[in-house]
């Protein structure tokens, strides 16, 4: 308690002391607002001091003694009176404040000399605030201003009232230059130097009085180049040390030189000059001629460029006179400048009297250039050169003389038919000829005389007649309309005729076991000719489902093949006369059948469609061969006993 009381006393004393000082400085402080930064701790505003007062009071409250509280309250209530009361014992107990003042300002005015003046500062209390450079208003609400070196709080000095201030002003001659240090709350008396400084600032002069304003100007950083660089910044340490990266580079270079990887520039230049002088180096490139590895490499399927054609006489500097152009040719040559490929020669032949008169050829460079273009730009291909002559293309024709004798004149005309004759067929002996016509009749002629021996009515337009090839029989097959008539020609040897008639007079007995297929039954109907028909010469009549196109005998004379037009898969029908039986050999229609033919010797059937011929083996019942003819439309066919087939287009 005692300690606290004494402290409070001390504080009050300092307050009393400080108050007039601050007031006196009020004016100057306001003026110095601008220079606040320069002065640092010296300046402080009135508000601050007032705030600090509040703060003191709160601190006192914190201390918490009732007595003190009462005192405080009374203090506040009384205000100035309390302060004035406190100022009584100020003079008696002013020791510490004086000490403080002397400590803050070493050069005190003469009248403030004290015991420490001799220099003995051993027991001097160093009052410093240790809070650092912080805004002091943070401490406004506290009774203290900070802490000193020993960690003890620096309490805010007591606030002096107006009266104290007035008294102090009256008494203290240094009052006008006493200010409060905001960090410590102590009064500080400004010395002469400070005052001078403040004065200079007020006058807006440079604070340093020694500053020479008008001294001669030295231009350090001028355009003049100095021997040693004048830099505003000091040289770094790095700049004095050898560079590591450079050292590495240099060592690499040195190594390269040592190993011979790198050549010094001078040496290199000398080497180059020498090379240039010597020209390119040549050596025996083809020492290992025909190296397989080299042969393999290269252009695929290489086509060497054709050589240029060699010049003829016309290109000579002194050509034979006939090669020179006359006026007309020259005019033509010039006219063909648009179409130069049509020109006879690509140059105008010229004749010079002597070699020395021959000038350089104006298009020489251009021609070389065009050749170069040809070499790398013209597409190449292999073309076969014709080695044949035009004559080789001509076909060899037989001389007409070699083909003689051939009939050259008309000798006989067989007259009698009233309409177009569609078909003729000679007798196997060659004595007779049978013809079929659109006048619905067939006639039998004697070949040698042209006499008509027999006329047989066919009942429809005759499309085909065929003489039976058998030597024992005398029979005709006539295709007339839908009917196939098997007739007796009623000419020739009577023996043969009677034999044939006997053979056909009685139809063979129908074998009940054999079943005629439906296909055949609907297509063909056999009939025996009787009565008038028999007398006319008809022997057997076979009626078909459609018109007939052709009738052909087999070599033995028993079988007969007919072609039914538009018969589709029943186009070809084979009849057996002796048994009055029919077969349809093909199930499928393979094109429109144009003609059929039996092989004269072998068991083969030739069937001609529009474009191809099929050859069937009759024994094996299978297709042997298919011949593609290449003709557009086969109309007729004949088979040679050898291997030939003749076609009619």
């Amino acid at each position: 308690m005692v300690r606290a009381a004494s402290k409070r006393k001390a504080l009050a004393e300092t307050r009393v002391k400080e108050a007039p000082k601050i007031e006196s400085l009020k004016l100057s402080e306001k003026e110095l607002e601008n220079e606040e930064d320069l002065l640092g701790n010296i300046a402080s505003s009135d508000d601050d001091s007032e705030d600090s007062d509040d703060y003191e009071s709160s601190e006192e409250e914190q201390l918490g003694d009732e007595e003190e509280e009462e005192e405080e309250q009374s203090n506040e209530e009384t205000g100035d009176s309390a302060n004035s009361g406190g100022s009584d014992y100020e003079s008696s107990d002013a020791g510490p404040s004086r000490e403080l003042i002397s400590e803050a300002n070493e050069e005190l005015p003469d009248n403030d000399k004290d015991e420490y003046e001799s220099g003995d500062t051993s027991d001097e209390e160093d009052l410093r605030n240790t809070v650092g450079k912080i805004p002091m208003h943070w401490y406004d609400d506290y009774p203290l201003l900070g802490y000193d070196w020993d960690g003890k709080p620096i309490l805010k000095p007591e606030r002096r009232d107006e009266l104290d201030n007035f008294l102090k002003r009256m008494e203290d001659p240094n009052f006008w230059r006493t200010i409060r240090d905001p960090s410590t709350g102590q009064d500080v008396i400004l010395n002469e130097k400070d005052l001078a400084l403040i004065k200079r600032l007020q006058e807006r002069k440079i604070p340093n009085p020694d500053h020479e304003e008008y001294k001669p100007w030295v231009d350090w950083f001028s355009s003049k180049v100095m021997t040693t660089a004048l830099r505003p910044i000091p040289e770094s340490k790095k700049s004095f040390l050898p560079s590591r990266s450079e050292r590495e580079k240099v060592s690499k270079m040195v190594h390269a030189l040592k190993m011979g990887w790198r050549v010094p520039r001078a040496e290199l230049e000398a080497q180059r000059a020498k090379e240039k002088e010597e020209g390119p180096k040549f050596f025996d490139l083809w020492s290992a001629d025909g190296d397989d590895e080299m042969k393999r490499r290269g252009i695929i399927d290489h086509i060497p460029a054709p050589k240029r054609t060699l010049p003829g006489h016309a290109e000579s500097y002194n050509p034979p006179a006939e090669y020179l152009f006359n006026e007309r040719e020259l005019e033509l040559w010039h006219k063909q400048s648009e179409t130069p490929w049509k020109r006879k020669w690509h140059f105008v032949p010229q004749k010079f009297p002597s070699l020395r008169a021959v000038p350089a050829y104006p298009r020489f460079v251009k021609e070389r250039f065009l050749r170069c273009l040809d070499l790398y730009m013209a597409p190449r291909t292999r073309k076969n050169k014709l080695t044949i002559q035009a004559e080789d293309l001509l076909p060899e024709l037989p001389d007409p003389k070699d083909l003689q004798p051939f009939p050259t004149a008309q000798s006989l005309i067989y007259t009698g038919h009233s309409d177009i004759v569609r078909t003729i067929c000679p007798d196997p002996s060659g004595q007779f000829l049978v013809s079929g016509s659109d006048d619905c009749s067939i006639r039998v002629w004697e070949v040698s005389t042209g006499r008509c021996l027999k006329i047989i009515a066919a009942g429809a337009e005759v499309s085909s007649v065929a003489w039976n090839p058998s030597s024992h029989l005398s029979l005709l097959a006539v295709a007339a309309g839908k009917r196939l008539l098997i007739c007796s020609p009623q000419v020739g040897s009577t023996e043969k005729l009677t034999a044939t008639d006997e053979l056909l007079a009685v139809p063979p007995e129908v074998d009940s076991t054999t079943v005629v297929p439906e296909r055949v039954q609907t297509a063909v109907k056999w009939e025996q000719a009787e009565g008038k028909d028999w007398d006319d010469g008809h022997r057997v009549v076979v009626t078909h489902f459609k018109d007939l196109k052709q009738a052909v005998w087999h070599g033995r004379g028993d079988y007969l093949a007919v072609v039914v037009s538009e018969g589709l898969n029943r186009s070809v029908i084979v009849h057996q006369v002796s048994k009055r039986r029919s077969q349809i050999p093909f199930n499928k229609a393979r094109g429109l059948v144009q003609a059929v033919q039996f092989h004269p010797v072998r068991p083969m059937l030739f069937v001609a469609t529009q474009r191809s011929i099929r050859i069937y083996d009759l024994v094996k019942q299978q297709l042997v061969k298919k011949l593609m003819t290449g003709s557009a439309w086969i109309s007729s066919m004949a088979v040679h006993p050898g291997k030939l087939v003749f076609l009619g287009k």
């Binding site: 020209g279 083809w286 460029a305 290109e315 021609e367 730009m377 597409p379 076909p395």
Partner: protein
Amino acid sequence: MVNRKKKYEAGTAQRYITRKSAMKKLQLTLKDFRKMCILKGIYPREPSNRRKAQKGKTGVKTLYHAKDIKFLSHEPMIWKLREYKIFARRMGRARAIRDFEKVHQYIDSHPTLTLDHIVRERYPTFVDAVRDMDDCLTLCFMFSTFPSIKHVRRDFSALCRRLTVEFMHYVMAARALRKVFISIKGYYFQADISGQTVTWIIPHVFPYKPESKDDVDFRIMSTFVEFYTVMLGFINFKLYHSLNLYYPPKFPVSSKDAENKLLVDQDVFVSERIAALNSNLLNSDGSANEYVEEEFDMDDIHLTDDPEKIAEAREERDKVKNLKTLFKGLKVFVGREVPREPVVFVLRCFGAEVSWDPLLFVGSTFDEHDTKITHQIVDRPSLDRTYLSRYYVQPQWIFDSVNARKLLPEVDYLMGKTLPPHLSPFTIVRDGQYQPPEEQALREGVPFKPQVLEEEKSEDEEESENDEEAGDDDDKEEDVNSDDDDDDDDDDDDDDDEEEENEDSDEDEDEEAKAISSKELKVKQMAVKAGELAKENPRQQQIDEAAQLRLRERMIARKHRKLYKSMMKGRRSRQHEINLLTKKRKAIDEETKAAKKKTKKKKQPADK
């Protein structure tokens, strides 16, 4: 899922690749692609079916073989080109920022193309390379005459010059030249090198003239030459070594040369001497190279059993053997108006000793006053001072003699005379080709004596004989002329007679026929008469034959009809050409003859 076969995924479409896609594949610009194609010898192909090859696209595209492009893609040179691109970019930048130290540094490490491996790759054997030498030589010879222009640097043309001169030295040393021809375009030379026929052209003087870029792109040509120089260098090396010659060429130094040598730069001296083409080169053992007749017995080789062919080959060999030493023993002085290089080259190729005016070019070996000179080549109408001991002939004599493979009589080629036509040795005799009478005579081995020229010649001979004598022997000349005229007339008469005889025979036949018919009329009694030969009317026969031919032509298969027609058309046009030329020749001959007679007639009264 069925693997459906898509169009253009196999076959022709995959075999070819368009230029654009090739460039894309190789990642090259057109310029670089072009360069690669030229250097590697890759060319477009003509497909058998263009529509398929272009994958159905219309228009004509440049198509390359896909495998060729694949082959090209493996070429390390492509990387060099890319390096070069980088180099150019760096240089451009360094130049732009004026960093000349860098510029020098880049130039020092400048990427260079080496083409050695390409030569080997394109020509796996030496013979392949020789076979493809024609274009190489012609282009190098042309470039060797070029001045320094944008895409052809001075050292480039100098290299061409060096290589071509080396090549000519080889041809001289090997006696490989076979045919020569002076054309309006230049000098054609044909040589037989390693069994291959190589033909090249040396242009007439100063062939270079500035060309517009559309006309001639020197950059492309210089790319070609870039490759050709390398190729020619390697070929030269091989050729020199095949003859046991030192390469690069050296020549033996005489004491006289040594004096001159002190005055000039060593290299220039050597290169000039070599360019003079007038000295034998050094063998690799240090001795001077001399041509040695190789003893090669062809009888040992029997490629064919056909005796005719063997005989033919043997004859040819003998002729070539003669040709190689055609000018041996001749000492020729070349006048200064004559184009020196080709003339010296040809003369030296066949063993002549040659010299020229020392002021004209270095390397002359003897001077004009040498009495041992047999021939002097002059290309001017007259000379002030002439020697009796030598022939003054025009340069065409050399060329014609080489082509004839024998020394032609100098009289036709004497100084100031009108030259006989210079014929091409490259023509092949075949049907449908016009042969001028001179060529026919040459092939038959008979000296050509046209009537007009013959007259002239006799006169000239007279004159030349009388040259030295001051006076003219008028009477003699007249006599000769009159003789000639008589001869001509006789010839004409003979022709006429023959024609008449023909006519006569025709008439005789007619008369006989008439007589027979009259006799038949008279005698109508039965009698046995001597049989008569059925006479065939040739005209009727011709008509029949023509009819037969027409019938046969009609029977030509449709497939061949067009071909036959075009062949016949070509034949007709060729025949037309022949007729035209013969007609022209006849007219010209007659004209000259008439002119000659006219002048003679004028001359005669004056003489009298």
